[in-house]
Each structure stands twice: as structure tokens, then as C-alpha cells.
Amino acid sequence: MPQSSPSQHVALASARTVKEEKIYRTFGLTDAEYEHIVELLGREPNYVEAGIFSVMWSEHCSYKSSRKVLRRFPTRGPQVLQGPGENAGIVDIGDGMAVAFKIESHNHPTAIEPYQGAATGVGGIIRDVFTMGARPIALLNSLRFGELDDAHTRYLFAESVAGIGGYGNCIGIPTVGGEVVFDNRYQHNPLVNAMCVGLMTHEEIATGSASGVGNPVLIVGTRTGRDGIHGATFASAEDPHAKERSAVQVGDPFMEKLLLEACLELIATGKVVGIQDMGAAGLTSSSAEMASRAGSGLTIDVTLVPCRETEMNSYEIMLSESQERMLVVMQQGEEDLAKQIFEKWDLQATVIGRVTTDGMLRVLEKGIVAAEIPVSALVDEAPVLDRLALRPAYLDELDENGPLFVESEDFAEQLYALLARPTIASKEWVYDQYDSMVRTETFVRPGSDAAVVGIPGTQKAIAIVTDGNGRHVYLDPYTGGVRAVAEAARNIVCSGAQPLAVTDCLNYGNPEKPEIFYQLERSADGLSVACEAFKTPVISGNVSLYNESHGVDIYPTPVIGMVGLLEDRDQLITSDWKADGDEIYVLGDLERAQKAGLGGSEYLFVKQPEQALHYRLPEFDLKAEVALQACMLSLAKQGLVQSAHDVSDGGLLVALAESAIAGNLGANIHLDAVSGVERSLQYREVLSLMFGEGVGLIVITAKVGMTEALERAARAHEVPIRRIGNVSVSPVVRVSILDRLYIHAPIERLQVAWRGAIASWMRR
């Protein structure tokens, strides 16, 4: 390949136009950034170079707004084999095995083409995981849409779900869990976050680094087209609708299945030096990042890149975001091995360049240097912004006390109404469209708390969950952040597993608004503190900013993906009630729950939608939560529990109803003794106890006669425990306080409300 000096070949005329006509602005670069580039290069960038800088320095690739915030996260721990910075993080699960995982957003493409936008989001996160040498074994997705009374929202929702299923089902990775929340803050800016978990041995770990001078660089997978040029810029843009619409791509899961198998086969040969998927900013970011990790350079001849369309120029080839492609650096002389393996899978592997020592990303087109940029300028010199954070005024206007409701008798009706809220209702309509069973290792399918997936050939299993409540974070960014991690971890321990590590997807509004940036900073503090407390370091993640539309920012929505380890699959716990007569206990501080109030609860949105955001989120006791979860785990390990279910959206009664429905068993519940004193409760205390979401609680059931053992264990962890009733075959859930019967709800009624809600919206 010809080596040449830029002064001879870089098209100066083009550099002049870029400057004079300020073309860089149309790429999203500011004047100041342009000046900085000139300084770094010692000359003016030409068209291709400006394009490369613009995508590498975009919010999406450079994390320029969030980089400083992310530094706060704890990222180390004895279990961490690979922290943030690679395509996915990796944690040890013992016996020489490890899991790789990561979560990623595809919000903006989904708003415009929901099926393909969501599908390619899944495709992208799968590539991130198998690039690490791991075989993907599970997918999850965390979704936010507007309310279902809007036809366009129903379209976005239905198509996104179909797209997620379409991709995961085809490629043969089970979709085992996730969450869906409906709130009009997301109406024009839906969120689609996809998470993938992969399994590997320690020896199989691959990384995305391009080292070894002269080693060949190969592009493999789909041929390159003009799709998605400037997608990375677009992902950070304020109003995706107004932007270049060609940035949406069509996914090809069949191609990706072949790519997955071929890449894993190739990595297993041990001849791969580095491998990296091509996501946002395609060839540009993958090559720059690989070189940056190795401190090397790369020379790429775009003429060699197999293209789908005719007459693509170097600018287009470097910036294309065609899906289902990978960049591979092989050991010298092993090109043919790669070609052979890819051929078996009907795929093309093409050498397009070499690793160099000079630290330059050099792009050749027909032998001429089209771009020549120091890799460090693209990666290390990318701007880091000190954005202004300002505490939003609304936070100081929140009411301390909950609303005063007029007493009403119809508690059961209120419960049915809550259960029928799409956010709380059964998500069957969603997850029945996902193949959750392929690979035959799914022990807990969607519908319980955490999903549980077996590790073949061992007694082990992993529990996986995604969790996030934007409304809570909106009401109290710090506490909301803490709670997001706490709730994810609580779901994990409820299955009997030990939380291991976190991947996070930070979905926020426009960071240029100081109030939004405040939300980001404060909630990240909360997330960090909680991750420390639960010893679950952040090992990977993703940031999606500018989630605003029509001037409305979404709720600050950090989504936590968490993985836990279950040493013995036989100790697995699920949330359904098991047998008549089993005793029902609540772990956690019911007395506080009774006082904490309704701030941030789903109940408020049923009763008083206009006022629902006016009340403060209750204080959260992180220390108590850590103790609660440790206690839960020890009960699980001792085999004392029959079922466990955490109390979250909708509060205690919803949790009870869900376990009743899942087990098809009723219950007699007495909440008398919770206050410690035998007195009738004030109405607000009753509501707080039944529907509040302020305090971490876990409902467990145990066989008769376990009280002493349970109390002993709880005492050891200083966690309150209270027996509240029994499971019964009679198909009714009864809840009373002293001699007043508050709820008499046939399971049938609970079921109808909960199970049919989303489907009945979607039939409209």
C-alpha cells in the first residue's frame, strides 16, 4: 500500500471549501471545534477528514457531555474481568467461566421507523457481546412509550415490539425479560434500550484492539451501502424528525446469525488479534477505536471495501452505518484462515488495510490519501464539555405531604384500576411475541421478577433484570438513582441470586439545558453510591441524550441492567405462591411504609393524574435496603422460602395480587399488627401501606412452622419481618386491618384486570 505525505495528496481545494463555506457546520461541528481540528492537524481538514472528526466528536461517539459524569461510577471489583471501555463488560462467574453484557439505546431511530429502529438496536447490542468472544445467551429490553390512548403510540409500541422479536427470534437468542412503562413524557420520544448477555470461558475473551504492525485488517459481513450516514450525529440531534431521514437502517438478523457463528468460530482459532463491531459511525469509529486501544495506526483502502451501491466515495464508505459488519485484525498470514471460515458461512471477509506504527488513521482511495488523521486527535482530543448544572426550580416546589383523599370504600376497585394500568398490567402481550425459550436454558421466563438462565454443564444459573423509574428520578434525581440500582438488585436477590455487576443506559433530555444536566449529574451520583453499596460495579453502559421533542424532555431515565449469580439452580426462587396454607411474610420496614406516603407512586397517577408530580419522593434508606437484600439472600440460601416477590410499582397490594395470580391461589391477609400498636389507622396510613412505593419491601412465603427460623435470620440482619397472613386455596384475596375487611378480590377479577389490559388497548 502506498505511503504518502498528506501535503501531496489531500485535496486542498476541498479543504478550502470546507472552511469557506463552513461545511463543517452541516456536519454538526462548531466553529470552535473546527479551529481545534485545524490546530491538531496543523492544517485545514478536507471534506472526508471533517466528516470523520464530526462523527468521532459527536455526542454519541465522544460522550462529550457525559464523560465527566461517567467517571464517578465505581467500575472495579474482584469479579470484574473487563470494565467499561470495551464493546461489553465481563464478569467472572467461577469455574473459568464469565459473562459479558451491555445495554444500549436505539431511541431516535425507533421514533422514526419503529420496527427497524428497534430491530437494529437488538442487532447492535448482540454484536457488542459476541465481539468479546462470548456466545449471546439472553436478551432483555427496556421500553418507554406514551399512553396507549394515542393511536400513534400504539403503532410505535406494536412495531417496536415486533421488531425486537423479529430480530431476536430469528437469530435464536431468547428474549427473557425487560420492562415497559407508559407515560406521556415519552409520547414523541419513545425509549428502546436493549441488553444482551453472553457466556464465555476466560480463554475466549477477545478485545477490540488493533496491534501488531503489518497485521491485516479485514472487513466482514454485509456489503457497505449508503445507509445511516451521519447516524451518530443524528442520534445526538435534538429533533430527529427534522434531520436526515436516511439514517434509518434495515436489519438483517439472518446475516447476523451467520456473522455470529463465523466470528465465534474465528475467535476460537486464537488467531484473531482484535475484533470490533461496526455500530454508530461505522468504519470510522471502529478503526479509530481499535487503533486507539492499541496505540497503533491503521491504513485503510476504501477501494477494497465491498460496496452494495455503486460509486460510493471515501466519505460515504467511512461514515456508512450499514448493519451486520465487523472489523477484524488477524495475525499476519492468517488472512486465508479467516476467509475460509467466513466462506463456510456464506460470508465475505476482505482485507482492506494494515496496522501501522505511526498512530495515524490513513484512508486511501484509489491509491490517493483521502484522509490522514492522528488517532489520538480523534479519540483522546475529543472535546470534553463542562456543562452547566442548575437545580431545577420544580424540585423545590414539591409538596412534602401526600394529597388528602376523600375516604372511599372501594379498595378492591382501586386495586383493579391499578392492575389495569398498562405500566403495571401483565406484559404478556409483549413477551409472548418473543421467543423466550430457545436454547432450552430459560428457567424463569418473562413474567416473574428477574429472568433466570442456566449455565449449561453446571449447576449454576444467572439472574438478569432491567429496571428504571424515570418518574422517581424526575422527582428526586439522587434518590431516584439510588432506587434504580436498589430495585434491580432487589429483583435479583428475590430469585435467590447474588448481584454481580451493572450495565446502565442513561436516557436523558437535552444536556444543554442546565436543569437537565443537573438531573444527569445528581442521578449519576445516586447510581454510583448505590452501586458501591451493593458491590455491583458498572462494567458497561450507554448514554442517550437529547431525548426531547416539541420542547418536552423525557423524564430522566437511567435504566439499570443487572446480572446476578445463582450457585445452585435448585435454590431458585420464583414469585408465584406455591401451596395452600403457606405463610406470608413481609421483609422490610412496614412501619415506615405506612408513614412514607404516596409520592411518586402509580396510585397517584390513577387518582390524581394532574397533581401526581407535585409530591416528593419519600426518603430512601440505602443501609436498610442493603440489609434487607442480604437477609433475603441468606433466607434463600438456607432454603427457607417458597416464593419471593419485591414490592415496586403499585405497592404492596399489587405485589400480593401478582403472586396470587401467578400461583392461582388466594390469601387471607391481616395488616393489623404492622404499626406495632393495635390501633386503627388513619386513611392516609392505609393508603401509604397498601399503595405506597417509598420503602423497600419483599413479600415472601414459607411453609408453616418456619417463623422462628425466619425471625432469627431477620434479626441477624436487623431487618424487620412480619407475618401478614396465609396462602389459601379459596380463590380470593382478602385484606383486612383489625376487624375491617378492606379487600375481597376474587383472583378471577384480579386476573381479568391485570392480564387483559394491554391487549384490550391494542385491539382498538
Binding site: 422514526i112 434495515v250 436489519g251 451501491e309 456464506d346
Partner: protein, 83 residues
């Protein structure tokens, strides 16, 4: 008046057509080697009534833009005949 509209929906040229690629590949394996390209799209027959051809045309374009296609990745043509 009753009309029958035949609507042809295809992916835009620049958009990847995985189905088309798979079919081309399969045809080659089946020895239809002279096939150079296949694009796979949708075909719809819509029966409707309207006061005039113009109105029918307007309705069809409306349906295509509102529901039947997504202009981000697809394009369409149609024919209208009186039924």
C-alpha cells in the same frame, strides 16, 4: 363509484433488502444464474368507493402516506381502475 387500487410498495433503492438478497442467492443456487437482482416488496389490492377518480386517487395517496408505507424506507406506486 367503486374502484380497485393496486398498490406496489418497495424499499427505497438505498435501503438494504435482505429478502431480495436471500432470494437472489437462492435463485442462483437453483441455476437461475442470469438473475442479477431481486427486490421484494408488498402488493396490495384495495377496493374502495369514491365519488370520482380524483377522489379515489387522493384517498389512496392518503392511505399510503398515513398507514401503508413508511416514507423513511419505502416508496410506492399505484394504479387505479374502476371496478
Amino acid at each position: 363509484m367503486d374502484f380497485l387500487a393496486k398498490i406496489y410498495i418497495t424499499l427505497k433503492e438505498s435501503v438494504l433488502d435482505p429478502q431480495g438478497t436471500a432470494v437472489t442467492h437462492a435463485l442462483h443456487t437453483l441455476h437461475y444464474r442470469t438473475v442479477s437482482d431481486v427486490r421484494v416488496g408488498k402488493y396490495m389490492e384495495v377496493t374502495l368507493s369514491a365519488a370520482s377518480t380524483e377522489e379515489a386517487s387522493t384517498l389512496i395517496r392518503g392511505m399510503c402516506d398515513d398507514l401503508l408505507t413508511n416514507p423513511v424506507i419505502e416508496k410506492y406506486t399505484y394504479e387505479l381502475v374502476e371496478a
